[in-house]
Symmetry: C2
Subunit: 462 residues, 2 copies
Amino acid sequence: MATTLAIDGLADRLRERLGERVSTSPVVREGHGRDESHHRPFPPDIVVFPESVDEVVAVVGLCREHETPMIPFGVGTSLEGHVAALQGGVSIDMSRMNRVIEVNAADLDVRVEPGVTRKQLNAHLRDTGLFFPIDPGADATIGGMAATRASGTNAVRYGTMRDNVLGLTVVLADGRTIRTGTRARKSSAGYDLTRLFVGSEGTLGVIVEVTLRLSGIPEAVSSAVCAFPGVDDAVETCIAIIQSGVPVARIELADEVQIAAINRWSKTDLPERPVLFFEFHGSESSVAEQAETAESIAADNGGTGFEWSARQEDRNALWQARHDAHYANMALRPGCRAWPTDVCVPISRLAECIAETRRDIAATDLLAPIVGHVGDGNFHIDFVLDPDDEAELAAATGVNERLIARALAMGGTCTGEHGVGYGKKKYLAAEHGEGVSVMRAIKQALDPANLMNPGKIVDPPG
Amino acid sequence: MATTLAIDGLADRLRERLGERVSTSPVVREGHGRDESHHRPFPPDIVVFPESVDEVVAVVGLCREHETPMIPFGVGTSLEGHVAALQGGVSIDMSRMNRVIEVNAADLDVRVEPGVTRKQLNAHLRDTGLFFPIDPGADATIGGMAATRASGTNAVRYGTMRDNVLGLTVVLADGRTIRTGTRARKSSAGYDLTRLFVGSEGTLGVIVEVTLRLSGIPEAVSSAVCAFPGVDDAVETCIAIIQSGVPVARIELADEVQIAAINRWSKTDLPERPVLFFEFHGSESSVAEQAETAESIAADNGGTGFEWSARQEDRNALWQARHDAHYANMALRPGCRAWPTDVCVPISRLAECIAETRRDIAATDLLAPIVGHVGDGNFHIDFVLDPDDEAELAAATGVNERLIARALAMGGTCTGEHGVGYGKKKYLAAEHGEGVSVMRAIKQALDPANLMNPGKIVDPPG
């Protein structure tokens, strides 16, 4: 941890370069040390707001010279303490680098600065017939989404950030700027540096530009809702739909606890039973065909009230309610804090994994709704906790640890989309074994002084 | 280069472990130092045929102890000198590790040893309703395809090896075995080691197991052929089809030189003009709809004789003819050697890139048909050369260098799917700039003694 004097010296030098766009105000620092999780926040010592790649290079150079940690910051919607300044240092807030640089409609790609948010990008694209499909719920920045390998509701059809980032510009710990990838759709020209930086959570460099793949807005879109007697029935329906090859765009589970919260918060009147939300993209006839197949599979599994609609207002209301699940949960207990955790398992094990997890939750007094991007085998528990109740936190920690062990034993991963941050670092060894030492060797090779978001993903050797 | 005595000593120790499955026969060595390219072959000193992960670990340990290079080998269908033993050493032939370990039909995944070939895998899957879609033409091994990030005709719909490898088991240079990835469809648990090893061409470790994503065999498949007045018209048709969002499974270009060669070799009677080959996958109605849209776009661009067929015999004959293009080209000049090179560009630049390249070829005396996976913006020149004619080789080298410069200037890559090997190493700096030094740092971190397929992709620092 740097001394106050050292920090003052660095802040002065940063101000020489960035002027007023350097803050040591406690309020600004507090806001940059926390994300949307329950994890303990750690405020940085300084927050800077660069407006260009050159300014980021200058900030990185000064931090290196002062041996001070640096933590890239988007809008702080991460969920595992990714932006916490565990060892103090400088938060590099990328929100002012928010230009859409170039839309190549003919190539279905776009080049953006990292501070562009996904909603801003889609608003910008409105007249092009194209959209950026990755939708993690929060209006995260593209840079943050790339850094955490974000995913969300559309991933079952459109993939995750891993699949939709064509290339990056990154400022490395040593101040050099590299460009990974090209605008070509595919390449076998050397190591896949793009995929190395996607999901590296700011530990290998600062992402300063992102080239994204876009998708054509489908000719037709329809959505549907269907309720099931039990969670198993809903999950079995999902598995059968995926296995049957229906190219569903979204297929989301909410259990009855979650539906009750949604109804109360969003003034909906969904049946308070396990529900699947669907969305289908394609031509008019393909969308109708997909909905019919899904309805028939749902009916085979006891699904009732399958309603589908191609009206945009209905769809928007439905997905807004789904996206607001986290806020709906928090509203169940005023003053509480929510802790969303996620795992992802092979889809054949999904029903079993969710059932065992629900039994585990039922054996506690926890309020813990389950939602899931079940088409990918990915689901979340959203623990709703009294932040001052140690016993509750301990119970949730136990459920989370058993959840992760269960997912790993089923051939799954400790996080499908939330990332590692400092909240899940301790589980990486169980998932990757010796692979963690390979990650460590890469970290050491690219950031030998361990100044890039230290304490996240892996610690340095020794 | 190791001395004969040192090699004898290593061969003896390898025989202690692998018995008869160690060869120093000149014929075997010759066969393991060459691939299907025109690049000069370099035979290894020793070829080993391990049958288990433990044996690979033992081979790697002995090579390390003897400071001897090791080069993983599949079936030798690579195209940029990937398997050439530039500094001698041990070729690790993985062909005896060719078991399909586990098919998880419900999860659409499969675990295989690296020596399984793609045709062997698809034969194995025949009764499951699933298939492995990546089709580079050659019956390559899955390990080799992962190592070179192979792609091919289906990539426009199903992605490349990057997208279809879920996880790998890799023996590292230091003898440790790591498992990357899980069977989960997505993960954000740390650095993406799977994507780092996919495309690393044996320079970071030996792939000893691969978990692949499978796809459902589509309910309906149809194929089509359409001829165009000029290459531009064919390419514009392709661009319009991709931009219109038709989920075409394959869209392949062959120019009139290539079609003439195919007709002669495969006894087909295709019009000797630029041709697009299509394949559509989906439901019966979706396939019909796709074919109609494609036909209409083709007609707008002067396409004539659009014929489509859902008969499997017709499809097989068509794709066999397409896959035999390379052999058809070699048959044009008995005794010649073919040199296939590839680039990939943003699709909006594809017509221009191909047109300029054809003008460049026309200014030479070269026989150089063009084929392309044009839905991805990827195309190949297949130079047909007299191996003893230095002037021809020099002319082809010039065309290749200008092709690569053109592709890079258009925002593309120096290789879309063939890889780097030693043939394209010199072009990486132009494509990646400082990124090459990041690749070098990773290579150095994971293989400090530079024993893993040395001389490919990047050289060590200094």
